[in-house]
C-alpha cells in the first residue's frame, strides 16, 4: 500500500494533476480522540459521546496541494491497541502516522512516546510522524504543557500540533502539514512500500495493476 502515484486520465482525455495515495495510521491510548480527529477531518463531524471505535476503520480523504492531490487512506486501530494486540499489518506500508494524546492526561502523553518508539521499530524508516495533543478545548484542565510536547517532538523529528476534534482547531492543518512533508515522487515508496501487488475486487478482475487506484 504505498505511494500509488500516477497521472489520472479524465474520460475526456484531459489530464489532471498528480495523485498520490498514502496510508496513514492512528495511534494513541484509548479515549484520547483518535476516531474523533478522523471523523472531524473526513466528515466535519463531532460527537461528544463517540462510541469506542466500531465499524469505521477505513476512511479516505483527499487534500489538494498545488498540482498534487494527496489521498489519505486512514487506518484506525479498531480498539486493537487496548491490549497491545495491533497486528504488524497495521504498520505495514504506512507512510504517515498521527500519534495522539490527551492534553488533560499525562499518562496518555507517556504512552504516546511509547507508540512513537513502536513506530520507529516496526514501521518504515521514512514514515512521517505527527504528534497531536488533542482536546485543546479543555486547555483549562491541561496537564501536559505545550512546551514539553514541542521539545519532545523536536528531539524526535516529529510534526507537532495541539488539536481539538470538538472545535476543529488544527485538525485540517495537521493533515495538511503531513501531506506537505510526504514525498510525492513515484520512486520514493519507502522501505516497506507497496509490493506492487493487486487488490482483489469482485467486478474488475482484469484490472492488472493497482498503480493508480483512485476511485
Amino acid at each position: 500500500m504505498a505511494n500509488r502515484s500516477g497521472t489520472a486520465q479524465r474520460p475526456n482525455g484531459q489530464t489532471q494533476g498528480k495523485i498520490c495515495q498514502f496510508k496513514l495510521v492512528l495511534l494513541g491510548e484509548s479515549a484520547v480522540g483518535k476516531s474523533s480527529l478522523v471523523l472531524r477531518f473526513v466528515k466535519g463531524q463531532f460527537h461528544e459521546y463517540q462510541e469506542s471505535t466500531i465499524g469505521a476503520a477505513f476512511l479516505t480523504q483527499t487534500i489538494c496541494l498545488d498540482d498534487t492531490t494527496v489521498k489519505f487512506e486512514i487506518w484506525d486501530t479498531a480498539g486493537q491497541e487496548r491490549y497491545h494486540s495491533l497486528a504488524p499489518m497495521y504498520y505495514r506500508g504506512a507512510q504517515a502516522a498521527i500519534v495522539v494524546y490527551d492534553i488533560t492526561n499525562q499518562d496518555t502523553f507517556g504512552r504516546a512516546k511509547t507508540w512513537v518508539k513502536e513506530l520507529q521499530r516496526q514501521a518504515s524508516p521514512n514514515i512521517v510522524i505527527a504528534l497531536a495533543g488533542n482536546k485543546q478545548d479543555l486547555a483549562n484542565k491541561r496537564l501536559v504543557e505545550y512546551e514539553e510536547a514541542q521539545t519532545y517532538a523536536d528531539e524526535n523529528g516529529l510534526l507537532f500540533m495541539e488539536t481539538s476534534a470538538k472545535t476543529a482547531m488544527n485538525v485540517n492543518d495537521i493533515f495538511l502539514a503531513i501531506a506537505k512533508k510526504l514525498p510525492k515522487n513515484e520512486q520514493n515508496t519507502g522501505q516497506t512500500g507497496s509490493g506492487q501487488g493487486r487488490r482483489l475486487t469482485e467486478d474488475n478482475p482484469d484490472n492488472k495493476t493497482v498503480m493508480n487506484c483512485c476511485k
Partner: protein
C-alpha cells in the same frame, strides 16, 4: 477479561480469525485470545529470519541472507484459488482491502522425472508434451465437455449422468489414458489421492471448472498469493472482527476451559481471571483431550538463491507430483514464493515441499520433490500431527477446527470454517450483514 461474552475464540490461526470476524459481524460479542504474542498460530509467517532459524535450532543466518526483517516465512504453504471460497470470503467481508496479491506465475505437473506446464485450455492441450498426438485430441474433447458442462442443464451432460456415474466412467467415455487421468485428477482437480475415481463425476467436473475459472480471472495460473505472506490473512480477518467490536488479547495463557451443567462451556480461565461465555471456538492445540490424530504431514522449508530449474525462472510456482508417478498414495506438493512477494530478501526464494506421511521415513518420501529444486541453501523439516475434533461440539458448545491439511489451497479450510459457523450459530453465514457503508468510506 472478567466479562461475559457470546463467544470466546482461542488461537489466532486463519480459521479462528475468519470465525471471529464472522461472529462479530453477526452481532456477537467476541473475545479473541492467543497464548502467543503474535497473530497466526500455525498459519503465521515467521519474521525475522533469525526467528525461523532459532525455531528450528539452527545457527543464526549469515549476512548473505540480507536483512532478517525482509523475510516472512510461512510455516504452512498454501495458495488461494482466484475464484475459490477464500477469495469470495475476502471480497464479501471487505478484508481484501487490507491486502495485496500477486498471481502465481507457473503451475507444473511432474511426469516421468520431468516437469511440464499444466495444460488447461484447448490450445495448451495441443501444445503440451505431456501427451501423444491422439491423446491430446481426446484430452481436448474432454476439456471442451467440462467447459460446456452446466450442472443445472442436463442437455450439456451429453448422454452421461454425472451424478450416478463415476469419474472413471467419464474418463473412459473420452478414452483418456492413465497418465492423462493422473494430471487431470491431481493437477487440475487437485485431489490428493485416487478415491475421487469412484465418486460421482460431477464433483471432479466442478473442481476442474474451479481451476479454469480461477485461471481465467488473472491469467498465468489459477493461484494467488498475498504480499508479505499468508500470515497477513489471519491479521486481516482479526481486524474485521475488531472493527465489529471484537476484543483482542495476545500473549495471554489459557489455563482452563470451564464446563457447567450438561457439559456445556461456561467460560475460560487465564490465571485468576475468568471470562464467561456461551460458546468457545478454538484450534486443536487448546483442547488436546478432545481431538484425535488423523495423520501426519511433513513440510520442508527450503531457502534457495535461485528459481526452480525448468520453470522459466518463475518467481512463484507450484509443482504437483501425482502419487502414482512416484509410487505413493498421496501427492507431493512443491510451492515456491520469493522476494517479489516481500517474503524474502532480494534475490531469495522460499520453496516448500510437503506431503501426507505414509512411511516411518518421511524425509525420504519428499526426496523426489527436493530433487527438483536444485542446490538448497538451507532446509528446515517439520512433521506435524493432523488433528480433528472427536465430536461436532453442539452438545458442549465447544467448536474445534481441524488442523491444516496437506492441500495446496484453502478450499478445505473454508469448508471447515463455514461448517463450524453453521454448527455454532445454527445458520449459514449471511454476507448481507456486513455494513459496507460503515467500513468503507470511499469518496
Amino acid at each position: 477479561m472478567d466479562e461475559e461474552y457470546d463467544a470466546i475464540v482461542l488461537g489466532t490461526g486463519l480459521k479462528e480469525c475468519i470465525l471471529s470476524g464472522m461472529l462479530s459481524v453477526s452481532g456477537k460479542k467476541v473475545l479473541h485470545v492467543d497464548r502467543n504474542k503474535y497473530y497466526g498460530g500455525e498459519s503465521a509467517s515467521i519474521c525475522p529470519l533469525e526467528e525461523l532459524f532459532s525455531k528450528f535450532g539452527a545457527p543464526a543466518p549469515d549476512e548473505s541472507y540480507g536483512r532478517g526483517r525482509d523475510w516472512n516465512v510461512d510455516l504452512i504453504p498454501k495458495f488461494l484459488m482466484a475464484n475459490g471460497s477464500l477469495v469470495k470470503l475476502l471480497i464479501h467481508t471487505g478484508v481484501t482491502r487490507y491486502l495485496e496479491f500477486k498471481s502465481v506465475e507457473g503451475s507444473y505437473v511432474y511426469k516421468a522425472g520431468k516437469i511440464a506446464k499444466v495444460p488447461v485450455d484447448q490450445k495448451e492441450a495441443l501444445a503440451s508434451d505431456l501427451m501423444g498426438l491422439f491423446e491430446k485430441r481426446r484430452f481436448r474433447n474432454f476439456l471442451i465437455y467440462v467447459q460446456d458442462f452446466v450442472e443445472e442443464d442436463p442437455k450439456t451432460w451429453k448422454d452421461f449422468d454425472p451424478v450416478t456415474q463415476n469419474m472413471t466412467a467419464l474418463y473412459d467415455k473420452f478414452g483418456l489414458d492413465k497418465n492423462t487421468q493422473d494430471f487431470t485428477g491431481h493437477a487440475l482437480a487437485l485431489y490428493r489421492n485416487d478415491e475421487y475415481l469412484n465418486h460421482p463425476a460431477v464433483e471432479t467436473i466442478k473442481r476442474i471448472k474451479l481451476y479454469s475459472d480461477s485461471l481465467a480471472r488473472y491469467g498465468k495460473s489459477p493461484y494467488l498469493y498475498p504480499m508479505y505472506g499468508l500470515g497477513e490473512l489471519p491479521q486481516g480477518f482479526a481486524r474485521l472482527s475488531a472493527i465489529y467490536g471484537g476484543t483482542y488479547m495476545l500473549d495471554k495463557p489459557i489455563d482452563e476451559i470451564i464446563f457447567g451443567e450438561g457439559g456445556r462451556v461456561t467460560g475460560v480461565r487465564s490465571g485468576n481471571e475468568i471470562a464467561k461465555c456461551k460458546q468457545v471456538y478454538c484450534d486443536p492445540t487448546y483442547v488436546r483431550d478432545r481431538v484425535r490424530k488423523k495423520g501426519q504431514v511433513i513440510r520442508c522449508i527450503c531457502l534457495l538463491d535461485h528459481p526452480i530449474p525448468n520453470t522459466k525462472d518463475a518467481l512463484s510456482t507450484q509443482i504437483i507430483i501425482p502419487q502414482k508417478q512416484v509410487g505413493r498414495h498421496s501427492d507431493i506438493y512443491v510451492s515456491l514464493v520469493s522476494y517479489t512477494h516481500q517474503v524474502a530478501a532480494k534475490g531469495w526464494f522460499i520453496a516448500m515441499v510437503s506431503t501426507t506421511i505414509e512411511t516411518d521415513n518421511p524425509e525420504a518420501e519428499i526426496q523426489s520433490g527436493l530433487a527438483l529444486l536444485g542446490p538448497i541453501r538451507q532446509k528446515f523439516v517439520s512433521i506435524s500431527d493432523y488433528y480433528e475434533p472427536t465430536d461436532d461440539g453442539v452438545q458442549s458448545q465447544l467448536f474445534i477446527s481441524q488442523s491444516y491439511d496437506a492441500t495446496t489451497h484453502f478450499e478445505t479450510t473454508c469448508l471447515d470454517v463455514l461448517d463450524i459457523f453453521k454448527r455454532g450459530t445454527g445458520e449459514e453465514f449471511d454476507f448481507t450483514k456486513i455494513k459496507h457503508e460503515l467500513g468503507d468510506e470511499e469518496q
